[in-house]
Amino acid sequence: MSLKIKKGIPLIDQHDKNGMWGGKFGGSFVPETLKKPIEDLEKLFSKLRKDKSFIKERDYYFKNYVGSPTPLIPLNQITDHLGGAQIWAKVVSENPGTAHKIYNAIVHCLIAKRAGKKFVCGDTGAGMAGKTLAMVAKKFGLKCKIFMGVKDIKRQKPNVDAMKKFGAEVVPVTSGSQTLIDAVSECMRYWVSNCLKSHLVVGSTVGPNIFVKICGYSTSQISRELIVQIKDEFGKIPRRLKLLNVCGGGSSSYGFWSSFMDYDKRQVEFVGIEAGGPKKSKLHAAPLTNNSKIGILHGAAQYVIQDKDGQIGLTDSISAGLDYSGISPLHCFLKDTKRARYTSATDEEALSAYKLVSSMENISPSLEPAHAFAEAIKIAPKLSKDTVIIVNSCGDSYKDRDIIKKRLGSYIR
């Protein structure tokens, strides 16, 4: 299979019959028990995507519940301060749940309803996916279980409180590194045992093929809005446009880019920013930037941090939402086709980007998108004034206030 992106077809559908992108990323490497539930879900999803009433319902909730579109705003102070390219932000954190996670949660809950399931279970790292799923499940009358690493429960307490408030059961995961990777594993294990009555919500564009597709399908709403907003604002797509997005699992960045896929990369460049980890540490969560090998993690082939023998490696990042050894197969494909460029920002760079943006502008990004702002701050001064940089501000800093206070001395909103 050639490593080329086809035009006019959503990237999520450009996989082969084995569910693989470019013949080597993705697939469905799952225990036999999950084969049938996954096949059922694949059939249901492909039917629903063509079902006008389903799309109408989705759009209804996106408009009236999420309140789409999220704002696209110029960051004039920072642009003036840095000189060079114009910096804008798509403030996806304005969403209920203060992140992009609500699109995936809504679509999954709608599917669960149609499948006649009364339970949903999901994983979470930073707690954004968990909090949002808990909120949406409550709205749709579904019972909800969220799997979260013990380390993350400690460092993202505001989100844990929110999940509980929405009536979800938060299951602490004590195995392995006690972060997102183990939360995803434990959630999958739970689904193996409960696949008949509960619906699995994978929180990002990772996991077996169908979950990558559903999540990508859902977050694409971001770029559907953005392309209209850009045309309104600039009259057309600017000649030099850079879309900067943080990459953990890769759901927000895929959603932020998907409508621009067919543009020439010299006009619309995609830059994915991974978590570089602490400045002085060898650990990171940036498999694309650091050329990790291909491996199979959580049901999909992908570039993944691992040792020589194939044991999945430990990660470290100040952002719980980025602390993941793997990366979406979609991004592996975008890397290999060279459609997107990937780089990383360290914990320290993210913190100072957070500080600069929060103190100069009217937004306060969480430490996840702060990684993307760090790259914007780095490149903007070197770029021409007619270059437009848009950063997806896909999370709000409130959940990080304890970490920020500890690291910077004070929390700015």
């Binding site: 490497f29 799952v30 225990p31 036999e32 294990r189 045992s193 491996g295 049901g299 023998d309 999945i312």
Partner: protein, 266 residues
Amino acid sequence: MKSEIQLAFEKCRKENRPALISYTVSSDPNKEKSLKILKSISPHIDLAEIGFPFSTPIGDGSDIQTSSYRAIKNGFKMRDIFQLIKEYKKTNFSKPIILMGYYNMIFNYGENKFLKDCKKAGVSGIICVDLPWPENKNFAKKCKKESINFIQLLAPTTTKDRMKKIIRDSHDMVYYISMLSTTGGKLKVSPRRILENYKKIKRINSRKNVVIGFGITDKTIKPLKSADGLVCGSFLCKTITKSLKMRQNPVTKLDKVCYNLKNKIL
């Protein structure tokens, strides 16, 4: 020529009992002890499954996870498992070996090199938890070429139509997962129901040796003894964990436990 696995089942059938299949993790609790454990349980078992531990085992419950993490922490490397088997195969009462694990380890090792080393060490079969049919077609063919059994898994969720296709591509042995669970769960389905599903598989092809696994302990094994084989894994791993905790010797402990299991199905 009949495979070692086939011969093991035929021997049990002659003795009118199911094959007892153990599962232990390579290098658990350490390299030396895992070999000693294998040697000590060998007289009681008919086939030995050996797990190559993986850091992210999505199909395993807490007992096998604990064993796997312990082995990795103790420095397990893939070459250790081949060393273990070579050593084990030198003993004259050794049983056929089935390797079990997750695909990333095989993928990383390289499918061909993995099979070559399996063959050299004397491995008879391979179970790959997260390489289901039809994704495993290619690898299963490669195994067959090397005269190594690729053991297909069937689950309670597997449809009849799918079962037929999987069995058609299977070799001498098929593994039926007793219930919807990761390994080591409490057996939440009645033995009667499990055996009904087991018979369904046998009706599709009676010549295949069908074994039942997941949730098999000294308490649950007896009513299932009409099967061709029974796999006991988490129960053994749990016994290792327990005896380490109580500062007992896991080698003698496992010897006893397997002796007991065998007696229950005679």
